[in-house]
Symmetry: C3
Subunit: 367 residues, 3 copies
């Protein structure tokens, strides 16, 4: 049996990148570039950010896009990259990803492209995902009742957005009570927070309030899970700690993002709850040559209509492209083996690729 049709389909399939940030729009130095290749470290990197699976993957997959040989030396890669503006780099890397729709979390990145910029630079469509903690910080600065202000801002912003996102993982993690707080609890907590400046939301009551507002909104709610920078306590981002929250989340789609090293737990939750989805964005980029094994684990307990694609690209436009390049290569390696072993038919493999690439995301985000 040949898998020519499968390989061809994977090479050509259009992707919905369902969780991404803007690429850079202004020039920066090499330290910025090196640190952008390390997710977890918040300090200037000692050694090179390219001395990693992600760095090797950039040299293997991104160098040819810039007209360089694969595996080019880091110094030569950097020099070549410096010959272009960030916008020029984006106009090379974004279209090369084969993405039809970018779902852009606008909650971070003052110097990065917004959804309109992403659409312009890529020639594809782009939509906003609204970060709940940013809505909270806007509500803290708004006049009048906090809860009303939050609801108003969320509904206004969500009118043109496709979903919401929470970084609860960075604001204390998933451990503990995540039930909906009472109005008086919200009012009290908001009053105290406003008195102390109303910046960088850490208050659990208000974080919980935001999550439940998102559930009531009904658009997909994305949750950062697992791998992130060292400000988060990684073990408190185990998605199993969300069980009680999920048991009371009704029908709103909840999308578990990144998931490493908890992708098997996330897959379990996607099987356990009709409204839970998962992706492996960010992780795939950081795993580089090791990403096929990770992609395979995403294909364990989760039903196939619950798995989504994303790159989680942020900063260097290489990352928006690399997510797609590694996903295509990795899922081909895995599914080719399933088909070769006669565990799956080739037709099934082709259908599942379409589900993950775009159909599942199109269904829940209505893009």
């Amino acid at each position: 049996m040949t898998s020519g049709a499968l390989a061809e389909h994977i090479g050509e399939v259009t992707l919905i990148d369902q969780h991404v940030h803007g690429c850079w729009v202004a020039a920066g130095d090499r330290q910025r570039f090196e640190n952008a290749l390390n997710e977890a470290n918040t300090e200037p990197i000692v050694g090179s950010g390219l001395d990693s699976q992600l760095g090797f993957a950039v040299r293997a997959h991104c160098a040819p896009v810039l007209g360089l040989p694969k595996h080019v030396e880091p110094q030569l890669y950097w020099e070549r990259r410096c010959q272009f503006s960030e916008a020029e780099l984006a106009r090379m890397f974004l279209p090369a990803a084969g993405v039809s729709d970018w779902l852009v979390d606008t909650g971070i990145g003052a110097d990065t492209a917004g959804p309109a910029d992403m659409a312009d630079l890529s020639g594809s469509r782009a939509y906003e995902v609204v970060r709940l903690e940013e809505v909270a910080e806007q509500a803290a600065q708004a006049p009048g009742d906090y809860a009303t202000a939050f609801e108003d801002i969320l509904r206004r912003r969500a009118a043109t957005a496709v979903g919401t996102k929470s970084i609860l993982a960075y604001r204390g993690g998933f451990d503990g009570d995540l039930s909906e707080p009472s109005p008086s609890q919200v009012a009290d907590a908001a009053s105290r927070w406003r008195d102390s400046g109303g910046t960088r939301l850490q208050n659990r009551v208000l974080l919980r309030f935001g999550l439940h507002q998102a559930l009531q909104l009904g658009k997909p709610l994305q949750l950062h899970v697992g791998l992130g920078d060292r400000d988060c306590d990684l073990h408190k981002t185990n998605p199993l700690l969300l069980l009680d929250f999920l048991r009371h989340s009704a029908d709103t789609p909840i999308v578990l993002l990144h998931c490493y090293p908890y992708e098997r737990e996330a897959g379990y939750l996607a099987q356990a709850f009709n409204n839970v989805y998962l992706d492996g964005g960010l992780s795939v980029n950081h795993l580089g040559a090791r990403s096929p094994s990770f992609i395979a684990r995403l294909l364990e307990l989760a039903p196939f209509h619950k798995i989504l694609y994303s790159s989680d690209g942020f900063g260097p436009a290489e990352l928006h492209f690399l997510g797609a390049a590694l996903w295509r290569k990795g899922i081909h390696r895995i599914l080719r083996e399933f088909v070769a072993n006669d565990d799956w038919s080739e037709g099934d493999a082709i259908r599942v690729v379409g589900l993950i690439a775009h159909d599942n995301a199109a269904g829940i985000y209505r893009v």
Copy 2:
């Protein structure tokens, strides 16, 4: 080196299915079938339960047993299945598993086959495994002292049974004190439980009492570990939380069931304690094409005389067969590679297959 002898041995070896439930005996609708292919979700499934590794594995491995081509469409599979009664399906799938002995947990499934039915439908032997929480619920309804009633019922039922089973994982999990309670604690807890109706045991004191009664009985004690439905808090079923209990469990064999995603932790415990065993039942079925990697991880820290086979089939007779089919295919893939790399001799591989398939279980259950 060829592994013809290994392949032949794996294809023909007779299995002891050391943890299984009854197959269905009465007809049901498609929703029942679809939900029976999803372990974790307790609600009617949105989408198809066949859109998963387990569903694909049913189509790949079970379809030919019904005279259908591999990978047949779900609708055609369902229609074909409907042409048979559940008993007729069982008479096809159970013998095809190549199982000599079924060890049947009778604690759930009013509409499923008991040990005698399983023997009749399969043409093999079947034995009972007594669920401790059911014994407790029987003792709660019995007259007189609870502890005495529990001991009497357990000893009477265990006289013809080969082991006991606890679903502590579903009744609060493994976290916390699991030491033996005092007689007065048991009497107090039993009195309160009886007063409140004496159904669905959740009381920790009485759960602990049951476990220690099973230890004193001395027959193998099976523990549900890991993967189950969403009523259990999966992170509280990490078997490492059993460490203190195991340190005081003396010689009674303790069998950790299912284990996903904690199979590496379970393997550690099987190395650490002379009386701890593990299996990968249920998980293998749900992992389908991904099961070889899981089977490989079961072969890490656990000594080879501590690993057991089971399917954990429950409901559709497909599952009792599929466990065996996937295990045979998966362990062949793994051991063939060990032999091809000259890490193991083929003779060693053949011997280990026999240990897992039947010798280890025959030793502890004395069947």
Copy 3:
């Protein structure tokens, strides 16, 4: 593309074994040998310690060193082994490992070789790693102020040592406060400990004091992580529980040892902190034929200049050799695949082998 150069380099590269204990110097019985092949069990093993991946690996890789065929029967292996003294075995196995420098944790093993013996038996260099809990126990027996005694002993011993080591994992685990205690807290705790005999340090205040003394010393601090004997609560050795400690550890290199089953978490920490390193010693030996998958996971999030080699050999000289043999075989299998898939260049693979084999360790230990 052929990987002949890679295979040749891996076969010949000299190793720094950065965490090891002494090999036996006195004869012992078979029970000692069998138990030395089981890390987790602290009781006499029922069955054979050779009936495991480690046992099979000894028969596959160590038998030829003794002039026996691969996969020889355990009884024949034992008989052959008995024809040599432990010193003679060491003079065969240690040089065969291809190790230039042994970094010897001297904190356990009264009947094992010290650094000078290891150098003599192997014909290579050996250095001491000082165990902090042993320093504490020496300080408890010393006259005068405990803190001063600890500092004096540590500085005196560290003058000729290359690093320190803590087994906090065995003394309560990583859970809880690991900040530096105040001098009065230390004095109080030391006074109570001395009054109760001053043996086997379990006091958290004094354990924390030792860790912070090691940070101030500035030489690499090794931490036992994950897999160990059953006296430790394995789930309390998850290195993510060290996050707060690492956030305040400044520049002193911290080396996470063994790491199974938390190697992915350890790799995350090695990415998150400039001063965190990891190795997979002990685990590689126990995984045997399954070690390539583990070695591959060590190559996920950790930058390549943060990964170290060790065997963690202790007792049978086979283990000091086996760590090297399995590492060479495993990393070749993994990197060969990266190169074959054109994910890495062969030159990169060769360079990374050198980093892990010796360059990274040479850099932090200054050997």
